[in-house]
């Protein structure tokens, strides 16, 4: 494929299917139209086998040097869904698509190869996935933590939804903390909670309708 060929959004999943056959499990192209003219933007989703991650990124690089936005990870229970969010064809008016390559990593074997040899900037987000999801990025050039503090316990992964997630004992319910008792009393007493009645707004340049009230939602 010559580098000058620009694929349409529908052709991108086809390109991957031709390349990897049954290794491509599912593809979707979603389009969203906004504004008055309703010009579309396209998001392409490609679900792959884990082994095909790096070949797929190399195939994507043949189309255009992709911009890696971020790697997202979601705990689905038995496995973690890792999505590598790329975009290609930037610099062309209304021509950019996002291409999200998704792989599933089973919790019995939480490892994924590093892609930092292809895209050096990926190290940042790979380090984040290691500490927040407990995934081992094989071959990562920088193995340190990124965001979590140094005294954060080992083996606790904030985004996991199983027993390795953040335990209740670590959660500080700040809304429960009352006013400190060792301070001077405030000039006005504590306010009673009351029903908020919609009042007519004083109207320099205000809109006719009332701002909607936020309903308290029970957690």
């Amino acid at each position: 494929m010559s580098p000058d060929t620009v694929l349409t959004a529908e052709q991108v999943p086809e390109y991957f299917r031709e390349r990897f056959g049954a290794g491509v499990k599912e593809t979707r192209v979603t389009e969203r139209r906004e504004g008055a003219k309703r010009n579309p933007n396209f998001n392409i989703w490609i679900d792959l086998d884990r082994e095909l991650l790096k070949p797929a990124i190399l195939a994507l690089m043949e189309l255009d040097y992709p911009h890696l936005a971020v790697i997202s990870g979601t705990d689905l229970g038995e496995e973690i869904r890792m999505i590598y969010h790329f975009s290609i064809y930037y610099g062309k008016k209304h021509g950019e698509y996002t291409v999200s390559l998704a792989v599933h990593v089973p919790k019995t074997d939480l490892s994924i190869p590093t892609i930092s040899d292809l895209i050096p900037g990926a190290v940042f987000t790979e380090r984040e996935k290691q500490e927040f999801l407990g995934i081992r990025v094989v071959g990562i050039p920088d193995n340190r933590r990124l965001f979590l503090p140094e005294d954060f316990p080992e083996g606790v992964y904030p985004w996991r939804k199983d027993e390795t997630g953040v335990p209740d004992s670590m959660v500080k319910d700040l809304y429960m903390s009352q006013r400190p008792t060792d301070r001077p009393a405030p000039p006005a007493g504590e306010k009673e909670l009351c029903e908020i009645e919609p009042k007519a707004e004083p109207a320099p340049a205000s809109s006719p309708e009332q701002p909607t009230e936020q309903k308290e939602v029970k957690e």
Partner: protein
């Protein structure tokens, strides 16, 4: 914050507003040889607040008020990105008028953010009169934002499905006044920043990031454009009202004839973008369609729709510092099953390393500030100088930077 016993590096106290991408001050370690920087390392994470963790325990109507507070400077962009992702999952149609109002707010935010940055850059160089000038004129855009939304910082105006307040004809004059003020000022600002001998001496060829490095390190926004990467979501990826308008990414060679990818080019791109944003707001006001401003007015009903939604989607917007990216996955429950926030500076931090290598200590503040990161980033710096470790505070660094300007100007 926690005990740091046994840690050689200093204890970093976060100050200032929280940051869109990082939400924390950054700890730098520089290895020096004499005056020049041999190697750089940085460690973010001092004030990671666990926004995604909180979000996965709340519902979308509550999360929009959480995303407003991810950042003190580009609150509307995070909320916009999140709302757009949820709208795609729940298949909520946003009325065109709401798209236009969202665009106007996003552009006003870009104006105030770039002006704030220009002031910070001037301050880092020791040019405080210019800081006071830019921050004084920035107030006018803050006043307009307050007039449009009711708030100066956390606007609370974008809701899933649309916006919460309309822009009425009475407000057009206030907006127009502000735009014409800025368009009148822009020539003066460009002149002050680009033709001042000291600023040119301090910024030309300092902190260079090549186009190849910018691509490889996933850089976004003005930082990438200053290195010659033609990437601007407003041009490439139609969303809100941007698809209706004719927008071309601002690149330094259009205005300077060449692209060097240095601090100076980053100043050029941001200042020109202020003028571009004024034009976009004006076009939006002229073309504003009529109609409702939200796809679903009743919050209870909106929540019910979100609770039934299943699927995953991406919300991307061009924030002042570059691409802001939210991935949301919903599975028919009240709160999202997965949520990943990628703010602009998240992508830009890696570019510090090639920029800073080989530069002088006195250039650290302006180079670090040139990607427009958090103000409190360089709170403290550990410098390994000729193999002995010493701690330098932000004030000392600032003093060195000012002294260098004085030396060059005298």
């Amino acid at each position: 914050m926690s005990g740091n016993e046994g840690k050689k590096a200093p204890y970093v106290v976060p100050i200032g507003p929280t940051h869109p991408a990082l939400k924390e001050p950054v700890m730098f370690t520089f290895k020096m040889e004499g005056e020049s920087i041999k190697d750089v390392d940085f460690a973010p994470g001092q004030t990671h607040r666990g926004i995604e963790w909180m979000g996965m325990r709340r519902n979308p109507v509550q999360i929009v008020h959480l995303t407003d507070r991810i950042c003190g400077i580009c609150g509307v962009h995070h909320t916009l990105a999140f709302a757009r992702a949820v709208e795609q999952i729940a298949e909520i149609e946003v009325p065109p008028r709401a798209d236009y109002i969202r665009t106007i707010l996003a552009e006003f935010e870009r104006i105030q953010s770039h002006l704030l940055w220009a002031g910070v850059a001037a301050h880092e160089l020791g040019f405080d009169s210019l800081l006071h000038l830019t921050w004084r004129v920035r107030e006018q855009s803050m006043d307009v934002i307050e007039n449009l939304t009711g708030n100066r910082v956390n606007y609370g105006i974008v809701q899933v499905g649309g916006v919460r307040r309309d822009i009425v004809p009475d407000q057009h004059k206030i907006i127009e006044d502000c735009l014409s003020t800025y368009e009148g000022l822009l020539g003066k600002l460009l002149d002050l920043f680009l033709h001042d001998r000291s600023i040119t001496l301090r910024c030309r060829d300092r902190g260079v990031l090549s186009r190849q490095q910018a691509l490889e390190l996933c850089t976004v926004g003005p930082t990438a454009r200053a290195s010659g990467v033609n990437a601007d979501l407003r041009q490439d990826y139609p969303y809100c009202a941007y698809g209706d308008l004719d927008i071309t990414a601002v690149l330094p060679d259009q205005h300077m004839g060449e692209t060097r990818g240095d601090v100076y080019d980053r100043i050029v791109v941001r200042l020109i973008e202020v003028g571009q944003s004024c034009g976009i707001v004006r076009q939006c006001l002229d073309q504003m369609p009529s109609g409702p401003i939200t796809g679903e007015e009743k919050l209870a009903k909106l929540l019910a729709i979100c609770k039934k939604a299943r699927g995953e989607a991406i919300g991307r917007v061009e924030a002042p510092r570059g691409e802001c990216f939210h991935y949301v996955r919903m599975n028919g429950k009240e709160s999202p099953e997965g949520w990943k926030v990628k703010a602009s500076s998240y992508s830009n931090l890696m570019s510090w390393i090639p920029m800073l290598r080989g530069e002088q200590i006195a250039d650290i503040p302006i180079i670090v500030a040139s990607i427009d990161p958090c103000l409190s980033c360089t709170d403290r710096v550990a410098v390994v100088k000729d193999n002995s470790r010493q701690i330098m505070t932000k004030e000392e660094l600032h003093r060195l930077s000012v002294e260098k300007t004085r030396r060059l100007s005298s």
